[in-house]
Structure formats: structure tokens, C-alpha cells
């Protein structure tokens, strides 16, 4: 068998000491602070736009002609799925890299800054046409709807900026490995490596898509192959969703056990979950195209299987988390079959928020498994159900984990401490957000089953009886949305208070240790090149058959349409 390596060596010990005494270097802290500030400003803006949408859908607010529903929706999607998630993920993992690898290399820090400004520049370019009502194509921007070319050029810069950060992370990890031969990449950096591998490979398809769209949007070529473009988009879109999920999962495995005073789950199994998610992810994209024409039944069937396969590491995660909770609570004297839960720190927002986030993943994951099944997808496709689903997965599981992280990560990078008042604010915020999301996403799921379409501004369809029956649910949607807006305001206040005004002090970066009697992790887990090759092979298996079919048997392409 393979030889195994010790978990920690001298460098580790030295670095831990250095980190404890000095904390994060000011330059690395500034980088993460900037990324997190943008993330939370995005949630503020995105939240306001979300509320506008919710009120409009309930028939309570008519949007003015200069800012119509679809402009708002495009901006809401872009701000929250692209800006919030990308900036938080990068800010968090760069702090993690800095902490666990003994600081960022100067070169890498520079790359992250270049990436930062490229993304901001790209985002500004993309927003201008949205505001001018030249790009109401939603964040999915599929052809045949065509936006102003400026919009797509903005997207190119965002992708390039993300690549800068991905390569920065690879360089830092590689250099650490060279300096620490024979050691495992620290677990949080291992997660970061997985996330950046996915970010890079997942955004290659969308880069190809955008490069075929740009000449078409300029009118240099007349038509575009719609099926190819949609397929390339979802290879990316689906991966992106799972990148945030993996980011949240990293916190569940590594941070939360420390916050509750326990140890983390088995190191080998944790790394296997990361590897499995990285290898199997991209191919899940097809479950967004179950209703698309032009994909043969056997191919769709194969993809149902590939999608469900991703459920497996998720189930492992669920098991692992509850095992860690129970073990920790029992060590603290918890008793009984379920009575041990009393020993968990419910009043600590750093635990409560990610805990609820995890719990939300149970219904969210179940809904996802339902949707990915051919027949059930026919019922809910493009209805509000789907919007309810991703507000559960993203708006709760991922975003609430991010919120929970912010209560120590921001004090950590600004060399301040979490005060009891802000902790209390955080607990209340968590409860409000939970209620708001349950109400809003519950209403969305239900009204979706009754047929209310997504991405459609308020309409009674000439007072059609079915459409009128949606109104009570849409009203609940607006109530949930209002609660969420309150939650957004509290959260953003907490973030900037912790960043600039909280009392100075030292906050620890909480990383749980493994159990003492755990067997050392085998070295094969470090073979990232091999995992990437497996991923490419799997992507080939999933995409070669349908893509060849789309291209060889292509119908005449589509000219650009402006439907708004």
C-alpha cells in the first residue's frame, strides 16, 4: 500500500504559534476585507431588488417604466449568484489560505487584487446595459435572447478575474507543498483547492459560450446554435451552484466542530467527499435541461443517474455532521437518545446560523432529488417552485453559513472581537432570516405547484381564475421577502460594525483538529492531477454524445432576439 505521512510537523507548530501571536498579516487582511465588503454590499443591493420583485409579484407594487421587472430580476440574479457568492468565497478562502499556509505569497496577493479589480470592472460593464434596459436577459443570458455586447464583455472580465484568483490559489498551495514536503495540504486549503479547481474548469464552458455569443451580439455572425449555448451555460451554472455549496460544506466540516468545542470528522473521509464533489460536479449540468428538446431519452436518462450520484457525498456530509454534533455533545455530558442536543451552544450565532443552514439542506436536497427526476421535473419546470428551491439551497444553506462565518471571520481580519450584543443581534437575525425564508420559499414552492411561472412580472392573465388563485400565496411571498429585507439590514449592519467599530482584540481562526486516535490519511488523496484527469474523463462521457449530436444534426441557428 501507499506510505502515509504525519499530520503535522515542525513548520506546522511554528506557524500555528506565529499565527496565534500575530494573527493575519495586515495586507492579507485588507484583501479579504475588500472582498467581503463587496459581498455584503451586493447582498444589500440584491436584497432591496429582491424585495421589489416580491412586492411586485404580490401585486402590491408597480415598477416604474425606467426600471422594469426584468431589469430588476437580471440585477438581482447577477448580484446574488455572481457577486455575493464569488466575492465571499474568494475572500473567505484567501483568508483560509493565508491562515493555514502561513501567509499569502506577495505575487499571489497581487494576483488576487488584479482579479478583484477585473471583476469589479467587468461587473460595472455588465450593469450599465442592464440599467439602460439593453440587457434584460436574466443572469442565465441564454440565446436566442441577446443583450448589448457590452454586457458579455463585462462577463469576460468577471471570468478572467476569477481565473486570476484560482491560479493564485494554485500557486500558493504548490509553493507550500514544496516548502513542506511529505505533509498533507491543511484541510481548509484542501477545500480551497477543490473549489478553485471547480471554479476554473467550470468556467471554461461559459467562456467558450460567451466567446461565441459576442460576435453574434455584435451582428458579425448571423445565427447561433442555441442548444450548444444552453448546454455550455449549464455546465458552468450548475458547477457554480456546487462551488458555493462546497464552500459552505468546508465550514461545516472544518469550522463548526471547533466552534462547538469538538473535533472534526475523519480526515480521510472528508477529503474523499471533496474529491468526489470535484470529480462528479460538472456533469450535473444537464439536470437543468430535462425539458430541453433535442436531447435523446437515453442521454437524459444517463444524466439523471449522474445527477443523483452527486447526492451521495451530500448524504455522507449529513451523516458526518450529526455524528460530530452527537459526539461533541456527549463528551460534554449530553445524555439520552436525543437529549444530547441540549449541550450544543444554541445561543452562539457562529453555531446557530450554520446549523440552521445545514438543517435547511434536508428539505432543499430532497426537493433537488425530486426535481432531477424526469417526470417530476415536468411538473415544476420553470415554475416558482424552482425559485423556492434555490432560495432554500442558496438563500438558506449557503448564505446562512456565510452569515455565520462572518461573525468571526470579519473580527479576525479586522483584529477586533465579536461583542455579546452583536452575537445577540446575530441570533435574532438568524431567526428572522429563517422565518422569512421558510415563509417566502414555502409560498414559492406551493404556488409553483399550482402553476405560477417564474421570471414573470405580476399579471392576472385577464382575471383568469387559476391565476387569481395564486394571489394568497404571492402575498405570503411578499411577507417573507419583507422579513428577509429586515434580516439583510441587520446582517449588513453587523458586518460593517464588526469591520470598523467593534472593540479591538484577537479573534481566533477556528479550525478543528482530528480525533487523536485517527489513522493517518493516505497520500493518494493529494494527487490532484489525477482527480482533474478523472473529472475530464467524466465530462467527456457526459458531453461528447449530446454535443456531437447538437452540432452535427444542428437545425438552422437562431438570430438574436430582443424580447423586451
Amino acid at each position: 500500500m501507499e506510505t502515509v505521512i504525519k499530520q503535522s510537523g515542525k513548520t506546522q507548530v511554528f506557524k500555528d504559534k506565529a499565527n496565534k501571536i500575530m494573527g493575519i498579516s495586515l495586507e492579507d487582511a485588507k484583501l479579504t476585507k475588500s472582498y467581503l465588503s463587496v459581498a455584503f454590499l451586493a447582498i444589500l443591493l440584491g436584497g432591496i431588488l429582491g424585495l421589489l420583485q416580491g412586492l411586485n409579484r404580490a401585486g402590491m407594487l408597480e415598477l416604474p417604466a425606467w426600471l422594469n421587472y426584468y431589469q430588476v430580476l437580471t440585477a438581482h440574479g447577477l448580484l446574488l449568484v455572481v457577486v455575493l457568492s464569488a466575492f465571499f468565497t474568494i475572500g473567505y478562502f484567501y483568508a483560509g489560505l493565508s491562515h493555514t499556509l502561513g501567509g499569502l505569497l506577495p505575487k499571489v496577493r497581487k494576483m488576487a487584487w488584479v482579479g478583484f479589480w477585473m471583476k469589479i470592472f467587468g461587473f460595472v460593464l455588465a450593469v450599465i446595459p442592464i440599467l439602460m434596459n439593453e440587457a434584460s436577459v436574466m443572469y442565465t443570458f441564454y440565446p436566442p435572447m441577446a443583450a448589448s455586447p457590452i454586457f458579455y464583455i463585462g462577463l469576460v472580465f468577471i471570468v478572467l478575474g476569477v481565473w486570476m484568483c484560482a491560479f493564485g490559489a494554485f500557486i500558493n498551495v504548490a509553493s507550500w507543498r514544496k516548502r513542506n514536503p511529505g505533509q498533507h495540504i491543511p484541510i481548509l486549503s484542501f477545500f480551497a483547492t477543490g473549489v478553485f479547481v471547480l471554479l476554473f474548469f467550470g468556467s471554461i464552458p461559459v467562456a467558450i459560450e460567451v466567446f461565441t455569443i459576442i460576435p453574434w451580439a455584435f451582428g458579425w455572425v448571423e445565427t447561433i446554435n442555441v442548444m450548444v449555448a444552453r448546454t455550455l451555460f449549464w455546465a458552468f451554472g450548475h458547477t457554480l451552484v456546487n462551488i458555493w455549496y462546497l464552500t459552505a460544506v468546508s465550514a461545516w466540516y472544518v469550522i463548526v466542530p471547533k466552534v462547538i468545542g469538538g473535533r472534526r470528522w475523519n480526515d480521510l473521509l472528508t477529503r474523499i467527499v471533496v474529491i468526489a464533489l470535484v470529480i462528479m460536479n460538472i456533469t450535473g449540468g444537464f439536470h437543468h435541461q430535462i425539458i430541453d428538446p433535442g436531447i435523446s431519452e437515453p442521454v437524459k436518462y444517463m444524466h439523471v443517474f449522474m445527477s443523483l450520484a452527486i447526492g451521495f457525498p451530500s448524504l455522507m456530509t449529513a451523516y458526518a455532521m450529526f455524528a460530530v454534533f452527537e459526539r461533541t455533545a456527549r463528551r460534554k455530558g449530553g445524555k439520552g437518545i436525543v437529549g444530547w442536543y441540549k449541550k450544543l451552544p444554541w445561543g452562539d450565532v457562529r453555531f446557530l446560523a450554520p446549523f440552521i443552514a445545514m438543517a435547511a439542506f434536508i428539505p432543499a436536497g430532497a426537493g433537488g432529488i425530486a426535481q432531477t427526476t424526469n417526470q417530476l421535473n415536468q411538473v415544476v419546470h420553470n415554475t416558482m417552485w424552482v425559485v423556492g428551491h434555490f432560495h432554500l439551497t442558496l438563500g438558506m444553506s449557503v448564505v446562512m453559513t456565510f452569515f455565520g462565518l462572518s461573525y468571526w471571520l470579519i473580527p479576525y481580519v479586522s483584529k477586533r472581537v465579536l461583542t455579546p450584543q452583536i452575537n445577540k443581534l446575530g441570533v435574532i437575525q438568524t431567526i428572522i432570516w429563517t422565518l422569512g425564508m421558510i415563509i417566502m420559499s414555502g409560498a414559492m414552492h406551493w404556488v409553483g405547484l399550482l402553476g405560477s411561472p417564474r421570471r414573470t412580472s405580476y399579471s392576472t392573465y385577464f382575471d383568469n381564475a387559476t391565476a387569481l388563485s395564486w394571489d394568497p400565496y404571492l402575498f405570503f411571498l411578499a411577507i417573507g421577502g419583507t422579513l428577509l429585507m429586515i434580516g439583510v439590514l441587520m446582517q449588513v449592519y453587523a458586518v460593517f460594525y464588526l469591520m470598523f467599530f467593534a472593540p479591538k482584540g484577537n479573534t481566533e481562526f477556528p479550525i478543528a483538529e482530528v480525533e487523536e486516535d485517527e489513522a493517518p490519511t493516505p497520500r493518494w488523496t493529494e494527487r490532484w492531477g489525477l482527480w482533474v484527469v478523472c473529472m475530464i474523463v467524466l465530462v467527456g462521457m457526459a458531453y461528447v454524445i449530446p454535443l456531437v449530436d447538437f452540432i452535427v444534426n444542428a437545425p438552422p441557428g437562431s438570430p438574436p432576439f430582443k424580447t423586451w
Binding site: 514544496k178 511529505g182 492531477g529 475530464i536 474523463v537 467527456g540 454524445i545 456531437v548 452535427v552 444534426n553
Partner: protein, 185 residues
């Protein structure tokens, strides 16, 4: 010693008519799914033969190169359009496929791999990369239908399957060229 049993079960499963019919009904699953799985079943079963006939392997496959050659010849044989066609029409060729891929490709590969030095390992991967690129080129740009049993569109799909597999191998080669594992150990 469970792995030979799993290998045998896999082989038997692949031989079941519904499964073999399904995999053979599509050109790319025939060549890129069924055939590799047959080889994999042989990889699993190899231990049984190694334990049973240790002298045979040490005598005939001392440095691993003969096994490698046998593996390569069998694999090349089954990459030809004509052999795939015959497997579908002649029962004897179909039987040969189910015997040759596990026992003449899978078993020798498993026996050879640990004996080979990195030169031969890389040589094998490079050889198959070039072979796959060539086959990809053949299947994609061939002006005629190469198999009686499969349509041109399936042939093109298979060609791209070869190209994407070759791409994965190129990535691996680049990775192992730049990564000096001894530096990390």
C-alpha cells in the same frame, strides 16, 4: 481475496444479454464503456491467476514488458472498426472479445504495471495518446461509414470520444512532467 470474485461478477454481468445488447447498441458505449469494463474485470481477476501460477508470470513477464506488449496488441486490435463490426455479426468473434479483453489485456496489465519503471509507464500513455488522436481523426473525418452496424453520426461521436480521452491523457502527461513527486515527499 475478494477482488477476483468481484471481477468475475463484473464479467458475468457484462455478458448478460440485456446488458451486452444495450452497451453494443451504441457505438461509443460499445468501445468506450463495454470494452474498458471488460479490461477492468480482468484487472480485478488478475490476483487469482498470479497466486495460482506464480512461476508462469515470473518466467514470462519478468520485467513487465511482455505483458505490456500483449495488452497493447489486444487493445489495438479492438480499436479497429472492422473488429467491432465482426463482434456484432460473428458469434466466435464476440466470444473472443469476452475472453481476450479480460484475460489477455486486463490480467497482463495488472501483472506488468507494478514491474514497470516510469519510462515504460509513460511510454504506454504516450503511445495510447497518439493512437487515440489518430483514431479520433479517422473516425471523425472518415468520408465513409466504417461499420455496417453503426451510423456515421455514431462514428463521429466515437471520434470525439477518442479525442477527449486523448486530451485527458495529455493533461495527465503534462501534470506528471511538471510535478516532481519526489520534491513533495
Amino acid at each position: 481475496m475478494k477482488s477476483p470474485v468481484y471481477g468475475l461478477l463484473l464479467l458475468l454481468a457484462l455478458m448478460l444479454p440485456p446488458i451486452s445488447n444495450l452497451l453494443e447498441s451504441i457505438m461509443i458505449t460499445h468501445m468506450h464503456m463495454q470494452m474498458p469494463l471488460l479490461v477492468v474485470s480482468g484487472l480485478f481477476m488478475a490476483k487469482f491467476f498470479q497466486n495460482r501460477f506464480p512461476e508462469f508470470f515470473s518466467k514470462w513477464n519478468e520485467n513487465g514488458v511482455p505483458g505490456l506488449l500483449l495488452f497493447s496488441i489486444i487493445m489495438m486490435y479492438w480499436s479497429l472498426p472492422r473488429t467491432m463490426d465482426e463482434a456484432l455479426t460473428l458469434t466466435s468473434v464476440e466470444v473472443f472479445k469476452f475472453i481476450s479483453l479480460p484475460f489477455l489485456a486486463g490480467v497482463p496489465l495488472r501483472d506488468s504495471w507494478p514491474k514497470l519503471n516510469s519510462f515504460w509507464k509513460h511510454a504506454l500513455i504516450i503511445f495510447f495518446t497518439i493512437l487515440f488522436l489518430a483514431l479520433g481523426w479517422l473516425y471523425i473525418w472518415s468520408p465513409v461509414q466504417l461499420c455496417n452496424n453503426y451510423l456515421v453520426i455514431e462514428q463521429i461521436t466515437l471520434g470525439w470520444g477518442f479525442i477527449s480521452t486523448a486530451f485527458a491523457m495529455v493533461v495527465y502527461l503534462i501534470y506528471s512532467y511538471f510535478m516532481d513527486f519526489s520534491k513533495y515527499e
